[in-house]
Symmetry: C2
Subunit: 216 residues, 2 copies
């Protein structure tokens, strides 16, 4: 059998230090590392990102995923596509598969829908009680879930854990309140060799981008 | 062939007037109506919703979808599950399927991630420029997309349009700014017989709930 052509993960050519380690290409890198899916990294310019790759991505965001004729934006969609390639990401049973997809949406449409705006409010030094209490409620509910189980679906790692851990590990969120079960979960997930490799590679990639900028 | 057992869509037993027509069970009702999937409605109590159905739904939200042994929360996950039953919701080609999933995430993790918090800020009479400019940016980008095409994927209705129209049709968002392409799109999607049936049924369901409350 011929080895599969690598998929391509598109990210920015450079980002400031703050978001390094959190740029969402890490979600796709992490999934590829978990599953042994060969991939390569390609870049679009960070400067002018609001308009410079709108032909490929109408919101100027990264990552994008390319796999042969398929070209996708949205990290959630990229993950589900990668999940179709490996039982290490989505188990091959209909019920488990549906539950993984359920938790991906819980991570992105129930948790991140409040963590991200709350972080934006923190950056702008705004304290809006309605948003903070919404955040506190969701984090407390997730703490309950994580207090009862090691994995979100079945008895092993899936994309459900990848997304949930990536949403919860944001520094400001992690420092807000005291949630031992969530903290233990984040520590276990980010100790996985596949996460550590993906994280180290993203950090190295943006350090190299600094060097390239200095040389120009 | 035996007719398929109906799926069950769970919603609240009652909600105040404000959210009627927008409770997210409408997303699943609408999908079933588009595809001719038989369904029945079941309810959990609205009063005490934060804790009273946590065994089924850790965040106290609706809808949930039940289909035989599969029981799911998150409207996005329910839609993808229903999409597996009908080409009228997700076309049967890998590339189109991936693109529908991409747009479902764009609706829920890129658009609704800012529309919903912005609406919550409006309710609490807070004006936070960082959130409003984020909203304006995303709505303008979506207006660009909708100015160039009638459907988000291919040449017909899919779950991509269902989600995007449902996210964009929120009253406060719709009244904020002037976006003719988006407005035309919302009008076209909500004029579909399947949406009108789902909407009328949800309104009637909650009116009936009012009557039941008065009789108690």
């Amino acid at each position: 059998m011929m080895p599969a052509d690598p998929v391509t993960i598109w990210t920015y050519d450079w980002v400031p230090e703050g978001p390094r380690g959190f740029v969402r290409d890490i979600r796709l890198r992490w999934a590829c590392e978990e599953a042994g899916i060969p991939y390569r990294i390609a870049s679009v310019p960070f400067d002018g990102r609001e308009t410079n790759h709108l032909d490929r991505q109408p919101f100027g965001q990264v990552p994008m995923l390319e796999d042969g004729a398929i070209s996708l934006f949205e990290s959630g969609a990229g993950l589900i596509h990668l999940g179709g390639k490996s039982d290490a990401l989505i188990p091959p049973h209909e019920k488990a598969r549906a539950e993984v997809i359920q938790w991906i949406f819980a991570g992105l449409n129930t948790l991140e829908m409040v963590t991200m705006p709350w972080v934006v409010l923190q950056w702008s030094k705004e304290n809006v009680p309605a948003i903070t209490s919404w955040l506190d409620n969701r984090l407390a509910q997730m703490e309950e879930v994580l207090g009862t189980r090691e994995w979100l679906v079945g008895d092993g790692f899936t994309l459900a854990d990848l997304i949930m851990a990536d949403v919860l590990r944001v520094d400001l969120v992690r420092k807000h309140g005291d949630r031992p079960a969530s903290e233990g979960y984040i520590e276990r997930m980010t100790a996985r060799p596949a996460f550590r490799k993906a994280h180290a590679d993203q950090m190295a990639y943006f350090e190299k981008a600094d060097e390239d900028r200095r040389e120009r």
